[in-house]
């Protein structure tokens, strides 16, 4: 009997320890990134690092300014949002409210399949199809802000569709029926009652999409051109924070390497802010709904 209760308690302890793994993982990730990244920021100077427009690790003296890449990451994310969010939300509305059942059985798995395509395949497809298309039709060399925005816009679609659709479905049916009974058309009922009622869920979808787009690496590095500059038009190339890490980590040494890690730290902080706002949205909607 005592043996049995010992085993019970021991296993409970084991389960508890495994549950702590995620806390430990986040802690170790934070510690290692910051320990390796902060000294470089201090050495370069925080303002020179974040606000500097010149990234020239092989110059003497070298300059490590990532301002252009921060702006590029924001630009690319914005482009992806402009393309992905309207299409994604409207698709979610279609799936939740307009789609005939037989079509839904095909369309829903299709949107999930879109999430399964590996990012390297998206990048390769973009490089082989979208980049030449832009080069031929809009000028420039094709690898551009526009190309990255289109591919990322497609990549965030499944996230936006999935999260928005479940938010739309969570709205009580009585809202919709009430609007119909008052004489509104089906479309009006959906867009004036259901969509507004699900806005915190839809907002969560957009924020999640922003996180995806900001963190995407392999697709962007192949199609964005990777020039360190602030693009002045859609067909200009740019280099995101993520691309900078992948491109140069392989051969970097010393301060250059540390500066790349610090680039990762900046990206990490951006993502943490997004995760935090995500949780704020979630807890707010839980309180209200």
């Amino acid at each position: 009997m005592r043996l049995k209760s010992f085993r019970e308690r021991a296993m409970q302890g084991v389960f508890f320890l495994t549950a702590l793994a995620s806390i430990a993982a986040v802690a170790v990730i934070c510690i290692f990134l910051f320990i390796n990244g902060i000294p470089a920021m201090a050495e370069i100077g925080v303002f020179d690092f974040i606000g500097g427009q010149k990234w020239a690790p092989s110059n003497v003296p070298a300059s490590y300014g990532i301002f252009n890449m921060i702006v590029a990451s924001v630009y690319v994310t914005a482009g992806a949002i402009v393309i992905g969010v309207p299409i994604g939300i409207l698709t979610a509305v279609y799936l939740a409210r307009f789609c005939p059942k037989p079509l839904y059985k095909v369309l829903k798995p299709a949107t999930e399949l879109l999430a399964g395509i590996p990012s390297i395949v998206y990048g390769f497809f973009g490089l082989m199809v979208i980049v030449p298309f832009i080069r031929d039709n809009f000028g420039g060399n094709g690898s551009s802000w526009l190309a990255a925005s289109i591919v990322l816009g497609i990549m965030i679609l499944p996230t936006i569709i999935g999260v928005s659709e479940s938010a739309l479905r969570a709205v009580p049916e009585s809202y919709y029926e009430g609007a119909l009974a008052l004489g509104a058309t089906k479309e009006r009922s959906v867009f004036k009652t259901i969509l507004p009622a699900s806005k915190s869920g839809v907002l969560a979808a957009v924020v999640l999409g922003i996180g995806r787009a900001l963190g995407e690496t392999m697709a962007v590095v192949l199609i964005a051109g990777n020039q360190v500059q602030i693009p002045s038009k859609l067909t200009d190339g740019l280099r995101t924070l993520t691309a900078n890490i992948v491109l140069e980590m392989g051969y970097s040494t010393g301060l250059h390497r540390q500066a790349l890690i610090a680039t990762g730290v900046v990206l990490f902080i951006f993502i943490l802010l997004i995760t935090l706002s995500m949780q704020a949205i979630k807890s707010r909607s839980e309180k209200h709904g």
Partner: protein, 302 residues
Amino acid sequence: MADNNNSAVIDDIKPINKVTFKQRMLSYKRKPLSFVMLLLVALAALISAAALVFIIVYVLVRGIPNLTPELFALTYNSDNVSCMPSIINTVVLTLLTLVIAVPFGIGAAIYLAEYAKKGNKLVKLIRTMAETLAGIPSIVYGLFGMLFFVYALGWGYSLLAGAFTLAIMVLPTIMRTTEEALLTVPDSYREGSFGLGAGKLRTIIRIILPSAMPGILAGIILSVGRIVGETAALIYTYGSATGYATGFLNSGRSLAVHMYVLTNEGLHTDQAWGTAVVLLVLVFAINTLSAFIAKKLGNKKG
């Protein structure tokens, strides 16, 4: 007899809650904006579906003719750029990652679903951290894996470093899906087991885990899909050596990394298309299997 009468009456009644096609067109004529919205919504769905079909068909059409026997030659050289070693490496990497991540993921989910008290601060923290992990981009995992496993622990670019990095990456997925699966097991199962005198541990292992198994499996297979498709977290942890990774501390390239290297070099575009097909088919097969298992669970319950 009375029933028959009733049904006859019901047949005569015309439904007033059904809108005929003509009525609907009339209402659209009165409210053109509604019609525009309908078109927009349908167009968006069409674009989403078209994007998927276009990508898949394009990759298949360009890639399938390039699926030559040389692409699957047993040894890699710079002429055949065989993807065989990278396929084997991916399988080994996937297995090792699961061996590391699954016990932690399932254990944590058991704790959260079966032991933790509701409203516990620590439980809340665990959930928050799992969500944070889920949001971290794979390149940051790669960076961390390089700093911690490759350099701090001195493993170098290796199978072990790659597997541990990916294990942390898929941990939140396994945790979440397992916990969801555990929560769908009806409480009556637990009560029945307790009522028969089984302890908590025995109930979990003999009753709850088997009932939740399809859901857990679906989650694990979903993680396999992510592992197979992953590139950014592996380049600087597993490395990109072209041969078979035969030991824990050997470097190797997974299929996705192989594809990245091919694309980046730009010398073997045809083979890259072929590799893209292999990757796509693999990932889709894995995801379909996961959905199939999850659906089976749903059917059983309903």
